[in-house]
């Protein structure tokens, strides 16, 4: 059992993807075409991108429930700035706006020592309010059609979002596993007081973590806004749960200290497969929410099971 769970920790998500793939290839003749697969991966790229940020947050022993609102804010700022500042500066503005939300989250969590769950939940509501206030509750249509290319374009036949997902995977891989910042994040998540007396600047680490989560949310928002050509103050309802699901399903430990970035990316693709499958059998979009909820519960259940068995193994003196 222990060996199985260890294997699961490393390769579990592949099993899910494999089962999903077998199922889909029987259910639809189109599945095994390259275009379909690329499309599914592109669909999963948003959850993956924000999932990288969430992986950091959970590794640091925290949480971020405000990603949706940051995305909404970024989308609105972007749509307003495009006509006056041009596309590149507008994108920068949107991402910076989102990142500021993250810095604020980090400051409150680190300096005022408010629980991350409460902080980001409160921030989610505040920022959503701000975004709605800016646009008086309306959506902003973007007239610059060339902006469409960012989210929907392809290079060498591969959709742009996939490039972004892969590029940021590489960046985050180095941040999480190879940089001193990443090591410090894991240390804070593993034992905050021990990290502090080891000279880790715990406050700076936390602020950095929440800024990075918000940065990924801002980038995801740019892509989505580009696809819709609309600035939406309340964007991506329910998305935060998807992001949490892929992070936990991917194997990042909820107890902090151990990240699994591969898992996050692959779990995003798995969720996209579920969405695709549900679409195929013409189920309503509400079923997608149902599915995400069930997968999240399942992921938490498996995580709980894993921790229990590891604890039991430790009690029996088995080296894991």
């Amino acid at each position: 059992m222990i060996r199985f769970l260890k294997l699961y920790e490393r390769f579990g998500i592949f099993i899910f993807i494999f089962i999903g793939a077998v199922f889909l290839s029987f259910a639809t003749p189109n599945f095994l075409k390259l275009d379909t697969i690329l499309n599914i991966i592109a669909q999963g790229s948003y959850a993956a991108l924000v999932g990288y940020g969430m992986t950091l947050a959970i590794t640091s022993g925290g949480f971020d429930l405000s990603v949706e609102s940051s995305m909404g804010l970024a989308s609105v700022v972007l749509a307003i700035l495009i006509p006056v500042a041009g596309i590149p500066l507008a994108i920068l503005g949107g991402v910076v706006a989102a990142t500021c939300v993250g810095v604020l989250n980090g400051l409150i969590i680190a300096k005022l020592k408010v629980n991350p769950l409460i902080t980001t939940l409160g921030m989610a509501t505040i920022i959503k309010g701000v975004a709605l206030l800016i646009t008086s509750g309306k959506m902003i249509v973007i007239k610059q059609r060339e902006f469409l290319a960012i989210g929907t374009g392809k290079i060498l036949g591969i959709p742009n979002p996939i490039y972004i997902m892969v590029a940021f995977f590489v960046i985050f891989y180095f941040v999480v596993y190879r940089s001193s910042f990443g090591r410090h994040v894991a240390a804070v998540g593993s034992n905050e007081s021990a990290a502090r007396i080891s000279g880790v600047n715990v406050d700076a680490v936390k602020i950095g973590v929440y800024a990075l989560v918000a940065l990924t949310a801002g980038l995801a928002s740019v892509m989505r806004t580009s696809q819709a050509l609309i600035g939406m103050p309340s964007m991506a309802s329910g998305f935060v749960l998807v992001v949490l699901t892929v992070t936990i399903l991917g194997g990042t430990s909820l107890t902090g200290g151990r990240a699994n970035l591969w898992g996050t990316m692959l779990a995003s693709i798995f969720i996209a497969m579920i969405y695709y499958g549900l679409n195929l059998i013409n189920l309503q979009i509400f079923y997608q929410m149902l599915a995400v909820g069930i997968v999240l519960m399942l992921a938490l259940f498996i995580e709980g099971l894993r921790l229990r068995f590891l604890k039991a193994a430790k009690a029996k003196g088995i080296k894991v």
Partner: protein, 511 residues
């Protein structure tokens, strides 16, 4: 004193875990109304043995006889029904319930209709039990608000309320101060007088000798032997435990190794809530002990010197220059290392590997351009140097730290300060919860490091560690310096007297 009437006996008791025989064919017996010390290094099989008695594990072989009748416990409940209570190191208490509720948990007295808890009767009964053992506790206090020693008392009261005939205590004094230990001893003796048998596990041999009637030594899962305390010597027991002769339990002071120039000078230093006007000088290559019981302010002083809590006044000179230490990072930068007494809570990074645990303090310096990539090869090289120097036993640098023994974890934490180019090492309770063998090794190691020029400030609640290891000992009482002892004037009785406010001066008034 104890009778020779037998309460419990095990015959050929065996427990096998994958790859290891944890308890190997053990014949062990406990008499009615005796205190039976159980000692042995970590991994000797003591914990497994008592877990079998407590119904946590089923034995793979052998039998347990209670009053001459064979019994088998497949759950803690069954063992409790047979009047055996095991008090584990991790207490089985609910912090958010009161003392009385904890004592009667699961069998609370009910009101007339049997539906509601009769709090008045429960509190009265709990108070009665506490009074029997002369425990100064309020039954309505929440367990979350009481000290570790008091929790221990609650566990004992709980065992007594089950009318237990055998109480097993697993290192009850590991985290207690001398004074609290006295109280627990008193209670344990009181239990014996009432005819209760006690199995007493301890790493502190002195305690076993003071308290117990008989002592059993285990090693590698086997019973080495049982002796009457009155007919045996400490050195014999240590020999039985380690299996080889340990001539000197403590690191000998290096003859003639003179201490160098002043490294850290503390002038008129005070910390809020209980540290006033402390002045001392730490020399290069010196081991200085700061002694004091709970409330003496030693812990707060040391935490403040490391920058973990703010100072109220005074000055610190490091290598002759006046320095400000407001944060652990400032201290680390200067070359001050700190090893906590709370290894689990504030020392190790449990989710991480040994390698990452050790190098965390120096990560920035090991990172290319400080922010980019960690230079793995350099990291591993420096880690390996420290690992070899401290002889840390691991299966590989990637092994998770929680799977190391206490002694090896402590070495990793000391190694963490050393890799950070530490010149002054602050050590709180350097060998708490560590077995005898590893203890001696750490003492030897500290002496070697000091001979190489490292300065050490340590504090300990174990008297021998205060008397035998350091070059100098300063005693704090109620936040002020009470006495100072040099190697020549070091005397355990005087140190204890100074700690409890009966200062006889040591070298005269400290300066």
């Amino acid at each position: 004193m104890s009778s020779t009437e037998e309460l419990l006996r095990t015959e050929g008791l065996t427990k096998i875990f994958p790859g290891v025989v944890a308890v190997d064919n053990v014949d062990f017996d406990v008499r009615v109304g005796e205190i039976h010390a159980l000692v042995g290094e970590n991994g000797a099989g003591k914990s497994t043995l008592i877990k079998i008695l407590g119904g946590v594990y089923l034995p793979d072989g052998g039998k347990i006889l209670l009053d001459g009748r064979e019994v088998a416990f497949s759950s803690t409940h069954q063992s409790q029904v047979s009047k055996i209570s095991v008090i584990f190191q991790e207490f089985n208490l609910v912090p958010d319930l009161t003392i009385a509720e904890n004592i009667f948990i699961g069998r609370e007295p009910k009101t007339a209709f049997g539906t509601l808890i009769d709090f008045r009767r429960m509190n009265a009964k709990a108070a009665e039990i506490l009074a029997i053992l002369d425990m100064p506790l309020n039954v309505k206090s929440f367990v979350a608000d009481i000290s570790v020693a008091e929790r221990q008392m609650v566990e004992i009261a709980k065992a007594l309320s089950h009318e237990s005939r055998l109480i097993v205590m697993d290192e009850p004094t590991a985290t207690l101060t001398e004074k609290e230990v006295r109280k627990i001893f008193e209670i344990v003796r009181n239990l014996r007088a009432r005819g209760v048998s006690i199995i007493y596990i301890s790493h502190r041999l002195e305690e076993a000798f003071e308290l117990a009637d008989r002592i059993t030594v285990m090693r590698d899962g086997r019973k080495v032997g049982t002796r009457l305390i009155s007919e045996t010597k400490k050195n014999d027991i240590i020999e039985m435990m380690v299996g080889k002769v340990v001539k000197d339990y403590f690191a000998p002071r290096t003859a003639g190794a003179n201490v160098g120039e002043p490294l850290l000078e503390v002038r008129g230093y005070s910390v809020a809530d209980g540290v006033e006007d402390i002045s001392f000088t730490l020399y290069k290559g010196e081991i200085l002990a700061l002694a004091g019981v709970l409330g003496s302010g030693v812990d707060r002083l040391l935490q403040s010197l490391f920058g973990a809590i703010p100072k109220k006044g005074g000055e610190i000179l490091f290598e002759g220059r006046s320095v400000t230490i407001e944060h652990p990072r400032d201290a680390i930068r200067l070359g001050i290392g700190y090893v906590t007494e709370d290894r689990k809570g504030a020392g190790i990074l449990p989710a991480m590997s040994v390698l990452h645990n050790l190098t965390i303090i120096k990560l920035r310096a090991l990172t290319f351009l400080r922010w980019l990539f960690i230079r793995d090869r350099e990291e591993t090289r420096q880690f390996e140097a420290i690992r070899a120097m401290l002889d840390i036993k691991i299966s590989g640098p990637g092994q998770r730290i929680i799977y190391l023994s206490g002694g090896n974890q402590q070495k990793v934490l000391i190694g963490r300060t050393l890799i950070g180019d530490c010149k002054v090492l602050i050590l709180l309770e350097p060998t708490r919860g560590i077995d005898v063998g590893a203890k001696a090794e750490i003492h030897r190691m500290l002496r070697e490091l000091a001979d190489k020029g490292l300065s050490v400030i340590l504090t300990s609640s174990e008297l021998p560690e205060l008397v035998n290891l350091p070059d100098r000992c300063i005693v704090l009482y109620k936040g002020r310096m009470a006495a100072e002892f040099s190697r020549e004037t070091m005397d355990s009785e005087k140190i204890v007297a100074a700690q409890i406010g009966q200062s006889t001066g040591g070298n005269g008034e400290p300066g």
